[in-house]
Symmetry: C2
Subunit: 270 residues, 2 copies
Amino acid sequence: MHSVFYISDQTGITTEKLGSALLVKFPQLEFHKDSFPFANTPTKIGKALLRVRNRYLMDGHKPIIISSMINPELRKMLKVDYAIHLDFFEAFIGTLENAFGLTAEMAEGKVHSIGNEEKYNHRIDAIHYSLDNDDGVSCKNYDDADIIIIGVSRVGKTPTSIYLAVNYGIKVANYPLAENDLLSSHLPKSLVPYHHKLFGLSIEPERLQKLRTNRMPGTKYASLENCQMEIAAAEKIMNTCGVPFINSNHKSIEEISVAIMQLVKLTRQF
Amino acid sequence: MHSVFYISDQTGITTEKLGSALLVKFPQLEFHKDSFPFANTPTKIGKALLRVRNRYLMDGHKPIIISSMINPELRKMLKVDYAIHLDFFEAFIGTLENAFGLTAEMAEGKVHSIGNEEKYNHRIDAIHYSLDNDDGVSCKNYDDADIIIIGVSRVGKTPTSIYLAVNYGIKVANYPLAENDLLSSHLPKSLVPYHHKLFGLSIEPERLQKLRTNRMPGTKYASLENCQMEIAAAEKIMNTCGVPFINSNHKSIEEISVAIMQLVKLTRQF
């Protein structure tokens, strides 16, 4: 068992992502993880270090501290002889200072704070927009959409829409291609004026069957035959009408979202 | 103008977060940013490098490449003399290998892929749960909630709920304290059985007035007097009934979310 401490004087979100990306490369090890966000005073750091020291004594080897401390004085406190310390500001900021010929202003800008209020409000609006325009509840706000995701039920439209809104400030509507839509080989009428904003998600029938079975086991809705039929019909519409689409099959919502952003050349809005 | 290239053989999400956290420390500089996610072949890397080289010629100084390349061969390609290269695997993986006495298995585990399917499905369920239980639409699923966020309209319940679901796989319901709830000094009846799951958001009246004015300018709803009254009544209920709450005033949804996770000792569910 290895102990890992995420310590940050901010939210620590970036630190934890960094840590996860690194630790996953040691699949043979087990990790005990502990987070100390907002550790922005010597007292809070001291409290965290007490826990680090206890784990050191328990484990019999040095815990890993992964930190992103903006305050250099607090960062120094983490250099203890009973832990291994990685700090991402320390690792990179010097290289950038040399490259730019400038000293970093460590007191400036916190990446997960509100920052620019106008942009932040835009992001909050995008979240509300995407919730209000989930699942085709209404087409009357499609003028405001940055993108409209279409696809059959349970293909991943909602999680993708929400992810894009939360993490990129994109206004995403989504529209489910339902039984009556799939009987036609044309786009649903309400979508035609927004053709240029449409993006499709598709999926393998077997995966869809699994997802739908989790939700409604034993129904026609979840049957492989019905999944095959719906996907074929949806792909036919998208191919016929020139709607770009990707297969969400083995992709996480992060992977789907980044692929969409790249394909339709959307950029982060905050 | 400085050019920054994010290059990753995965989504590049961590890389961009890391880069933003670093670049924000140089507020006097302007950056031209370009992303190359899924750059997982020599051809794609070559294409990215062509753009890097063009920016070098245009800018007259070296662009910054910030990368997280799992594949060491592809990573090596980024060591070009016309750019400054930061790679976060390169920076940290050696230290961890030494600490663990192991060689990192770079082909293993991608932090933004589906990974463990059961956990991934739990996360998707959490997103659907939080959407379905937004804004007090129904209390009948509160048994399944990990946490129920309460507060007056526009205090930040919805974005926080959605953020927690998307990024931590937490099932969050939220319930708006509306006019009739605020007339009482007790909890709304439907919330009483879930007392132990409640967490409150509050806010300064001036900030709430601003947020509500953006939404419905000139209404009683948005007036400072009404905001003051609603917040006072909500805080009275939460204080009387022992519901923990925080002030969301100058906090981003990331900061609110991490503070909640820390206060109620919730942990990431995927």
